[in-house]
């Protein structure tokens, strides 16, 4: 079976203030179709950089990334992308935002209206279709982004700290909703987070990055079942064991970053 995302020999450096800064070095990773993978690491480790390279926002200068067998070169329209920042367009209503990708994919008229209503129902936003994002709470805006992301059914979802700005309880609710959707559709998901507990709660594999330059330090396979209860998994012994191992890998990297 070919990988959904095949990353090989990726290296990325920036030139800033007359110095070359190495952001990522020798990254190799295969992500299987339908797999849910989380990236964790200290801030500045290049995990978001890697995600932006998979999305085609940043050019890949050394190494290669294949997505569904296609070499990523320029904006990757076969993925869905969700950011920590609100990226729903504030000047469009909830409905218009969810309808936008459908419009780009040639879904028109009644089919589009129906699909938008279905998506709003799926994320629990029925009745808010005509509201503008500024009229909604932070959690509701995240659900609009989720509805928009899922509306056109991309096979791969890239999520860059999507729930980072939410409070702890709301975060759990969003994780639960995301897992339910993933269990039904089994998209490939790459989920960047700095929250170790969140990574173990949602993912099947957790990839730990070293501090800059980012390299893969450890990959932990989470032994929890795919069908899991986000509210209860944290009390299971497997969770605790995974957390301890990942923390042992991550802590020195964070300390190293703080000392530098």
């Amino acid at each position: 079976m070919t990988a959904s995302i095949a990353i090989s020999g990726v290296r990325k450096s920036y030139v800033a203030r007359g110095r070359e800064v190495l952001a990522l070095d020798r990254v190799d990773l295969d992500i299987a179709p339908g797999e849910f993978v989380a990236f964790v690491g200290p801030s500045g480790c290049g995990k978001s950089t890697l995600m932006n390279m998979i999305a085609g926002i940043l050019p890949i200068e050394e190494g290669s990334i294949l997505h569904d067998g296609q070499r990523v070169n320029g904006i990757n329209r076969a993925v869905g992308y969700m950011t920590q920042q609100d990226a729903v367009l504030p000047w469009r209503t909830v409905e218009q935002n969810v309808a936008l990708p459908l419009r780009f994919h040639g879904v028109n008229g009644a089919a589009r209206t129906k699909r938008v209503a279905e998506m709003l129902d799926a994320v629990g936003l029925t009745g808010f279709g005509r509201s503008f994002p500024a009229e909604l709470s932070g959690g509701m805006r995240k659900r609009v982004a989720l509805a928009q992301l899922l509306a056109y059914e991309p096979r791969t979802l890239l999520m860059d700290e999507p729930f980072g700005a939410l409070d702890a309880q709301l975060k759990l609710l969003m994780q639960e909703q995301l897992l339910r959707i993933w269990q039904a559709k089994r998209q490939t998901v790459v989920f960047v987070t700095h929250d170790l507990a969140e990574a173990i709660t949602v993912a099947q594999r957790v990839v730990v990055f070293t501090g800059r330059p980012g390299q893969i330090k450890q990959i932990e396979t989470v032994t929890l079942p795919a069908e899991r209860d986000v509210f209860k998994v944290r009390f299971l012994p497997e969770f605790e064991a995974a957390y301890t191992r990942l923390w042992d890998a991550l802590a020195p990297e964070i300390r190293r970053g703080e000392a530098a």
Binding site: I75, Y81, R92, F104, H105, Y152
Partner: protein
């Protein structure tokens, strides 16, 4: 930020409690008071003017509110007002329209293609520093003393305001919106239509509001220099005859027109930027 409280606030209670009624009544009362006070300020000013005229200051210099009012009324009745106002409005509208379209298009172009912006930057800055009024005599040579030269002056002034505002607006667009829109399948035209233009809209509208009085200034300056019709001509002619009553009447017409156009733009702004919540 607490999620649950936030959601409740966003949803809003369906019940109109006594507290809601009281808050709305207080807000209504305040609005009424403001209107009353505004009228009082206006009446006070007229009374002061009336009293000053002849008592403190020579009527020759400041005329009097009743004389100016009478003059305006006569102009309205005998068609003088419309005859001159129409030509001023016509020139202003054309100047405003041309300045806006050209300024907006070039602002988009420069905002999207930084190379062009960097190459032209020193020239734009140089031209921008010229007081556009200084171009008025040149425009009269080029376009004659007809309406075209007035259109040119106001277009030149409006162009820069709209151009610079559009340019800044486009530069300010959050790149995340552009990336996400492209990833979900949008092409360049879609990005322009759904992201760049709406995002720059608040800057453009600010530019429009600022440039309406400028457009009027441009036209009137052109009319001052050489013309045979228009409110600027009327004021200029009256000044030559030391007819201060007509000068004030002309100025009041211009102030009124500016206020009406600005009020209209405020409504447009409220609609276009309604998403700001």
């Amino acid at each position: 930020m607490s999620g649950a409280a936030d959601e409740a606030a966003a949803i809003g209670g369906p019940v109109r409690t006594a507290r809601v009624e009281a808050a709305e009544a207080a807000a209504g009362q305040r609005k009424l008071w403001i209107i009353v006070l505004r009228v009082l300020v206006g009446v006070g000013f007229l009374a002061l003017w009336h009293h000053a005229s002849g008592n403190w200051i020579d009527t020759m210099l400041i005329s009097s509110p009743e004389a100016v009012g009478l003059r305006l009324w006569r102009w309205l009745i005998d068609g003088t007002l419309w005859n001159h106002l129409s030509i001023t409005l016509y020139a202003t509208a054309w100047g405003f329209g041309i300045g806006c379209i050209v300024g907006f298009s070039l602002g988009l172009l420069f905002g999207r293609y930084t190379l062009i912006a960097e190459v032209f930057d020193p020239y734009i800055t140089a031209i921008y520093s010229i007081p556009k009024i200084a171009l008025a005599p040149l425009f009269i040579i080029w376009f004659g003393i007809g309406i075209e030269s007035k259109v040119a002056v106001s277009a030149a002034i409006v162009f820069f305001v709209i151009f610079l505002n559009t340019y800044s607006g486009v530069r300010e667009v959050n790149p995340i919106y552009v990336h996400v829109t492209r990833i979900m399948g949008g092409g360049e035209a879609d990005v322009l239509r759904h992201v760049i233009v709406p995002s720059a809209a608040s800057w453009v509208i600010t530019g429009l509001k600022v440039s309406v009085p400028y457009a009027l200034v441009g036209t009137v300056i052109g009319e001052f220099m050489s013309s045979n019709r228009g409110i600027g001509f009327l004021i200029n002619q009256a000044t030559g005859l030391f007819n201060t009553t007509s000068v004030y009447a002309g100025i009041i017409v211009l102030a009124f027109v500016g206020a009406v156009i600005n009020a209209a733009l405020k409504h447009i702004e409220a609609y276009v930027l309604r998403w700001r919540g």
